[in-house]
C-alpha cells in the first residue's frame, strides 16, 4: 500500500489534552483558510473571524487562491524542471484542490510526498483524502513544525535523504512566534537534506499593504486560539534563504513568482532556493 502513517500508533490514540483544533469555539488557521478558499470544512467561529479579516482586507480572497496557484507553479517547476521526486510539505492544511502530491504525481507518478501537520483533524482529512498513485507514496507525520527532529526521523522512513528533497513551507512559519526561531527551523531542515534540494516558502509580510495587513491580522489573532499569526519583514523572510541559491525571480510578492504579469497586491513574499 502506498499511503501510510510513518510513526507507529498514530491515528488511533486520543490524547488527554484536547488539541486546539477540537475547540470549535475559537477560530483555527486551517479552517479560516478553508473558508477563504470557499471550502465547507469550517465552523461559525472560523467564518466570523474570516469575515472580520475580509472586511479590512478583501484581497485575502484572491490572496489564498494566489497561494494555491503559487504552490502549483512551484511544484510544477520542481517536478518538471528541477527533476525533484521527493517532497516534504510542512503544514499540510485541510485538503483542497491540487494538493502537493496531486500536482507532483500528475507530472511524475512515482513522486513521494510526506505531509506534516500537528493537527489531528487536518491529519484525519489528509489520511482519508490525500491518497497516492500506486507508483508513488504519500505519508503523514503528526508533528509540530518546531519539532524538526521528529519530522526528519519520520520522513526518513519514506524519503531517501541521499537524493534531493523539496522542502515546502507555505504560509506556515507565520504561525511560529519569534521566540521559537522560525529561521532555525528552516536551517535545521535544510541542513538535513542533500545538495540539490530546494526550499519553497511563502510568508505574510508587513512590508506590503502594511496598514491593512496589520489591522486585519490583529482582528484575526483576537479570534484565533493559541496559534497566533506573526507578520514578518522582507528582511526576515530573506533570512530563511540564507546559504541557498535563489531560483529566478528571487524573493518577490507571491503573485509575481514565475507567472504572467498581474496587478494582484497581496502582502505575501514567496521564493524558492536551491541548496548548493
Amino acid at each position: 500500500m502506498s499511503t501510510q502513517d510513518v510513526s507507529a500508533g498514530q491515528g488511533s490514540e486520543a490524547t488527554a489534552a484536547e488539541p486546539p483544533s477540537f475547540d470549535i469555539t475559537r477560530a483555527h488557521p486551517a479552517r479560516v483558510y478553508d473558508y477563504w478558499l470557499g471550502g465547507k470544512d469550517n465552523y461559525e467561529a472560523d467564518r466570523e473571524a474570516a469575515e472580520q479579516f475580509i472586511e479590512v482586507m478583501p484581497s485575502i480572497l484572491g490572496g489564498v487562491r494566489a497561494n494555491r496557484a503559487f504552490l502549483r507553479r512551484a511544484v510544477q517547476y520542481l517536478a518538471e524542471e528541477a527533476g525533484i521526486r521527493q517532497f516534504l510539505d510542512i503544514g499540510t492544511g485541510l485538503p483542497t484542490a491540487e494538493n502537493t502530491h496531486e500536482v507532483a504525481q500528475a507530472i511524475a507518478p512515482e513522486s513521494r510526498i510526506v505531509y506534516v501537520d500537528n493537527d489531528p483533524i487536518v491529519l484525519a482529512h489528509a489520511r482519508a483524502l490525500l491518497t497516492s498513485t500506486p507508483e508513488g507514496a504519500t505519508a503523514y507525520v503528526d508533528a509540530d513544525a518546531r519539532d524538526t527532529g521528529k519530522i526528519l526521523e519520520a520522513a526518513a522512513g519514506v524519503l531517501d535523504f541521499t537524493q534531493p528533497i523539496a522542502v515546502m513551507s507555505l504560509l506556515v512559519l507565520q504561525y511560529v512566534p519569534d521566540e521559537d526561531r522560525p529561521d532555525e527551523i528552516v536551517s535545521r531542515l535544510m541542513d538535513a537534506v542533500p545538495s540539490g534540494s530546494y526550499l519553497t516558502l511563502s510568508d505574510t509580510t508587513t512590508d506590503i499593504d502594511t496598514e491593512r495587513v496589520t489591522t486585519s491580522t490583529a482582528r484575526l489573532n483576537a479570534r484565533l486560539g493559541p496559534a497566533q499569526s506573526t507578520l514578518r519583514s522582507r528582511a526576515q523572510i530573506e533570512r530563511y534563504f540564507d546559504g541557498l541559491e535563489l531560483v529566478e525571480p528571487g524573493i518577490v510578492p507571491m503573485p509575481q513568482w514565475r507567472t504572467v504579469p498581474n496587478t494582484l497586491v497581496i502582502p505575501v513574499f514567496a521564493g524558492m532556493g536551491r541548496k548548493p
Binding site: M1, T3, Q4, D5, Q10, G11, S12, A14, F22, I24, G38, K40, D41, Y43, E44, R47, P120, I121, L123, A124, H125, R127, A128, L129, T131
Partner: protein, 298 residues
C-alpha cells in the same frame, strides 16, 4: 431524458443532480424573496398556495412548476430574461425523473429525498453504529437488514427493498463517483446480521470497497473508549456547488431528520471530525476487518 433500454449504469446528469438543482433553485428564490422584502405567506398566496409550500420549495424539498417559478420571479421584481431562463432551466433539471420513482410504492416519503441528495453529493461522510452503510452492503446482508424492520413484509416487498439498495450502490461505479468517507463502529462489524457466513462475506466486501480510490473506511475500535456520537448513526452530505450547504441526515425508525442550518450541521461536522481522528487510520482498518472476520463465532 430517457436512459438506454437495458443499459448498464444510470444515465449521468449533465451537471447537477435533481436534488442539488432543487436546493440551488430554492436557495436562489429565497434570496430574491428576502431582497424584495416579501413574506413567505404573500409569496405562497401569489402562487395560489401556502407559506409551507414556499418553505418546502426554498429548502429544495419539492419539485418546481415552471409557472410557479415565473410567477414568483415576477413578484420578486426579477425581470432579467437571462436570470429567468437560467432559473427555468434549473427547474427542468430539478424535475428529472430519477430511477427510484419506480419504487414509489415501497419507499417511505421521508426516505426518498435522501436518495436524491445522496445521488447529487460530491462527498458523503457517514458514521454507522449498528449496521454497515447501505452503499457497502452485500445483497444477503441487505436482505437480512431489510427483514429486521419489516416483520410482516411479503417476500416481494423485501426483494424490492434489496433492489433499491443494490441500485444505490451503482453510485460507487459512476463516471464521477462521490468521495465516500465512512466511519464504522466496531459493533457494526461484530454483529453477525444474517448469520456468520453472511457477515464474513460482508466484511470481505468492506475490505474490497475500502480499496476503491474514492472510498475511505475507518473503524472506531472498542479500545478507543466512549465517543461523541451518542445519538447514533448519521450521514453528512456535501455538494460541490458553493451555494448548497451540507445536509445532515439522521434516520429514525419511522422517519428521518434532515439538517442544513449551519448551527446544527456544525455540531455534526465536529462530531464526525472527532470520530475520524480517534478511529483507526484507513490503512490500519483493512487488517482489522480480517481480524474481526476470523474471530466471528460459528
Amino acid at each position: 431524458m430517457s436512459s438506454e433500454p437495458g443499459g448498464g449504469l444510470p444515465e449521468q446528469e449533465p451537471s447537477v443532480g435533481s436534488a442539488a438543482a432543487r436546493m440551488m433553485l430554492g436557495g436562489q428564490l429565497r434570496r430574491f424573496r428576502e431582497a424584495a422584502g416579501i413574506t413567505p405567506e404573500a409569496a405562497g398566496w401569489h402562487i395560489r398556495s401556502s407559506r409551507s409550500k414556499i418553505s418546502r420549495m426554498e429548502n429544495g424539498r419539492v419539485g418546481f412548476k415552471d409557472r410557479d417559478v415565473r410567477d414568483l420571479l415576477s413578484l420578486y421584481g426579477v425581470t432579467d430574461p437571462q436570470v429567468t431562463s437560467a432559473m427555468i432551466a434549473l427547474a427542468g433539471q430539478a424535475q428529472t425523473q430519477e430511477w427510484w420513482a419506480q419504487f414509489g410504492d415501497i419507499l417511505p416519503s421521508w426516505f426518498e429525498p435522501y436518495l436524491g441528495l445522496e445521488a447529487s453529493a460530491s462527498r458523503i461522510r457517514s458514521f454507522d453504529l449498528q449496521f454497515v452503510h447501505g452503499l457497502f452492503q452485500t445483497e444477503a446482508y441487505a436482505r437480512a437488514v431489510s427483514a429486521l424492520g419489516r416483520r410482516g413484509a411479503l417476500p416481494d416487498e423485501l426483494d424490492r427493498w434489496v433492489a433499491v439498495r443494490m441500485k444505490r450502490q451503482e453510485l460507487l461505479a459512476a463516471a464521477k463517483p462521490p468521495r465516500v468517507w465512512s466511519v464504522v463502529d466496531e459493533a457494526a462489524l461484530r454483529r453477525p446480521v444474517g448469520g456468520v457466513k453472511v457477515m464474513r462475506a460482508q466484511l470481505r466486501r468492506l475490505a474490497e470497497v475500502a480499496e476503491l480510490p474514492t472510498v475511505t473506511l475507518q473503524v472506531v475500535p472498542f479500545r478507543a473508549g466512549g465517543h461523541d456520537a451518542a445519538s447514533g448513526s448519521f450521514t453528512i452530505l456535501r455538494f460541490s456547488e458553493p451555494d448548497v450547504p451540507d445536509v445532515v441526515y439522521i434516520e429514525q425508525l419511522t422517519g428521518a431528520i434532515y439538517l442544513e442550518k449551519p448551527t446544527a450541521t456544525d455540531h455534526y461536522l465536529d462530531i464526525m471530525n472527532r470520530l475520524s481522528a480517534i478511529s483507526l487510520s484507513p490503512e490500519q482498518t483493512i487488517p482489522f476487518l480480517s481480524d474481526v472476520s476470523r474471530q466471528l463465532q460459528t
